[in-house]
């Protein structure tokens, strides 16, 4: 297996060999934030249906790991990030230009079904008798959650900093944690496995999701078509259904 443009073994292992020389039949690799998993899987299927002969492959992960992979030479066509910071990393490296914000996500408190600890507001996260989790501050959901707490003047009593939002959600779903701060889209995606408690908009932090066609995209036209498709009404409706809000 020869992977063009992949400069580190870690990248190859993480994303496989998505891009080749020609666009014919080769799947287009889209690197997208983990929180987009369900929505983008649907959008990708609709995009493939609308464009004959095009296949889209996704690699979902933490935005910062994805940005690292791109900088290390991952042969991807499109990057959809959960934070502008990680998009800036890629843009500053000269690997993408003119990112557009394609959706927004709001924070929400996730609690196990039945809310056994009776969590109601952000203030409850200061309670030391509860088991509470956040995303690590290096990943966007952790950065935003800490911003929300700082703005509200609350020092959260945190028991674990999970590496990504799905890991955090799993611990809430299983009831190991009494609560955690995740995205609204994650609560929607979890169905009945967790309950969401809305954080009022004046205390909420809006996560803006930018996406861009990458300079190394094997077929920039199809890549741009995918970005346009996400921005189209159909794409936005899908995102809305999964708990995202229009930019």
């Amino acid at each position: 297996m020869i992977c063009r443009g992949a400069t580190s073994l870690a990248v190859v292992l993480a994303v496989g060999c998505g891009g080749g020389d020609s666009a014919d039949g080769d799947p287009m690799l889209v690197l997208a934030a983990a929180s987009l998993t369900d929505a983008f899987t649907d959008i990708g299927a609709a995009f493939e249906e609308a464009n004959d002969g095009v296949t889209v492959e996704f690699s979902f992960g933490g935005s910062s790991s994805l940005a690292t992979q791109i900088v290390e030479g991952a042969p991807a066509a499109v990057f959809a990030s959960a934070s502008s910071t990680q998009m800036t990393v890629v843009v500053d490296a000269g690997l993408a230009a003119e990112p557009v914000v394609f959706t927004n996500n709001l924070l929400e408190i996730a609690v196990p079904p039945g809310n056994p600890a009776g969590i109601a507001t952000l203030e409850d996260f200061a309670r030391e008798d509860l088991l509470l989790g956040l995303c690590a501050e290096e990943v966007p959901c952790g950065t935003f959650a800490r911003e929300a707490f700082a703005a509200a003047g609350i020092t959260p009593s945190v028991d674990t900093n999970e590496p990504d939002v799905r890991a955090l959600l799993t611990k809430v779903e299983t009831g190991e944690l009494d609560g955690g701060i995740v995205y609204r889209s994650d609560v929607v995606a979890s169905g009945d496995a967790v309950e969401g408690i809305v954080i009022p908009s004046e205390r909420n932090v809006v996560a803006r999701y930018p996406m861009a066609v990458l300079e190394e995209a094997p077929d920039p036209e199809t890549a741009q078509a995918f970005v346009d498709f996400v921005l189209s009404r159909s794409g936005q409706e899908t995102l809305d259904r999964y708990g995202f809000t229009a930019p």
Partner: protein, 253 residues
Amino acid sequence: MVLGLAAVAIGFMALPFAGLLGRTPWGNLANLLADPFVAEALRLSVLTSLAAMAMSLLLGVPLAWVLARVPFPGRAVVRGIILLPMVLPPVVGGAALLFALGRRGLVGQWLDERFGILLPFSTWGVIVAVTFIAMPFLVITVEAGLRSADLRFEEAAATLGASRLTVLRRVTLPMAWPSIAAGAVLSWARGLGEFGASITFAGNLKGRTQTMPLAVFQALESDRDAAVAISLVMVAVSLAVLVALRERWFRVA
């Protein structure tokens, strides 16, 4: 031919570490390692890996003896279960631990209600997760050592009137010592690098559950120089121990 392939193997195994050295920010190394979060992670790593090694010795040596010396129906199945963590992705092991010993787990529920013991998100949780992943390495090594030992020494001791405990204490264990030492080192080394089961079962909190591998993982997200610096400490510590012990104990085993 053989030498050539061996050279390829050495190159293959050593190359990634050369890559690590190439990315090491030598000039800034002291500063990066002086960060208290590195010291905290190192302390936790040493503490939990040694505690897990002690647990593995306490429980694993008797288990290895039973597997090697006591025939019982289903022994192969028991051995298979004991060795499972070596094969499974550690994250699966961590999730399984959560379902068993978590707050809502099979046994964990009872531990919590009865004794108020909560393993997840605690240092004890890390030790449990590391022991679960690392103990099989000790068991398999010690069992192999016991099986290869000449039984006639034990029989001779027994015919000369030594009790079973005396045979175990004066003959079996001294003869198995090299394999016990090797197994302990192997399980310790595996435990030092443990990541998946630990973060899944015990979470990630600085000073409580964040060991070196978790610190590296988190630093990779934000500060790659720091991540490389921490990795280098792990490589140095592990290599020093493995080199020092190997010559002394593996030779006999």
